[in-house]
Symmetry: C2
Subunit: 216 residues, 2 copies
């Protein structure tokens, strides 16, 4: 896993400002934000707006992807506790409702992640010029996906993730414009035009990534 | 150029905090720092410690690269004004001195770069949790290399660069631990064991990237 090496070797050179090794942390339970997504092998790029509710175990994501120069939009609401994902098509007020079988994954540093380094994005030479972050590496439980993730030291907010998939695909996720809290709690409630939609049991979605890909 | 799309489409979704479009800026003339380098097609990863002196037009870089699971180290001092690059081998106190024919490239947002978006890495919901940055895109002068670069709003420090090379290679550079100023000015002076080395005119280096690759 070469991506992991990226930060492993950085320990040799980085002028790290580490005083005490940080502990794995958990992000605040209510978040909104954006992320820039790049699936590098397939040259797929996109952006995502997400809303995250760890109390009710719900995630709402709107994705705009560029695949082979074709732009694709999706709007997905996942209710982990209920085991249901809604694919929402607001332009014609329709909905698909599919079983969702993954367990809840909070935004956090996994307990078995390995601390790699503490660095400053930018600089602490002047106020407002820098951000203190921690780099962690590990392997996703029950899968051969290896990751290298960067979270802020204060606030425990996601900054960046590299995911090395089994088929050699490298996935990059850059987070930005995160807000702690959720402005509109209704974002976690399926829209009324989804109420009478039957569950399509022919399809089953087993992960957030799968849900996003399947809804395209 | 799909990488450029990454931020272009983000304008559609990003909850940007843009008040007034920023102007291209130039970094402070003396800098030290690190960067994590990834050449994605070739699965080459590495880290670099750099010192930068825009007054004398000198750059000193120490690179640790992982190519095909082989780790390679290089130490290069480039004197742009003099048109010379030194490849330094401290372990046996030897040196190579080669002509260097590139023109000086300051760390800055090129004047013809296109402003893409202003975003926060992390969050402004709590103090110390976020960093305000600007994304710019463009094409390197006299080459078909397209770029997408991120610099801090305050201080004009490099944060990240995507470079889309002509052969479809995607180069990612993540900067960190930047210090404004240079602790040891001697870092820009060739070590004494380089004094009597003859210029090897058989080899000519035409860019910083070329210098780094050739010195491996």
């Amino acid at each position: 896993m070469q991506a992991i090496l990226l930060l492993t070797v950085s320990l040799c050179l980085a002028a790290g400002s580490l005083a005490k090794e940080p502990h794995p942390c958990k992000s605040p339970p209510l978040l909104e934000g954006s992320l820039a997504l790049a699936i590098l092998k397939e040259k797929t790029f996109g952006v995502e707006r997400f809303a995250y509710n760890a109390f009710d175990e719900r995630v709402h994501v709107r994705v705009l992807l560029d695949i082979d120069n074709k732009t694709i939009y999706s709007d997905t609401l996942i209710l982990y506790k209920e085991g249901i994902a809604f694919e929402i098509f607001r332009h014609n007020q329709t909905c698909k409702k599919v079983p969702f079988k993954d367990h809840w994954k909070p935004v956090e540093i996994p307990k078995d992640a390995k601390f790699q380094s503490q660095v400053i994005i930018g600089s602490f030479s002047a106020p407002g010029d820098g951000l203190l972050v921690n780099n962690w590496s590990g392997e996703v439980a029950e899968s051969p996906v290896k990751y290298l993730i960067t979270f802020t030291e204060f606030g425990c907010l996601p900054v960046h993730g590299w995911y090395d998939m089994p088929d050699q695909t490298l996935l990059s996720m850059s987070f930005y414009d995160i807000v702690i809290g959720v402005e509109d709690p209704d974002i976690f409630i399926p829209p009324s035009f989804c109420d009478k939609v039957e569950l399509n049991s022919d399809r089953e979605t087993t992960s957030l990534f799968d849900a996003l890909m399947r809804s395209l």
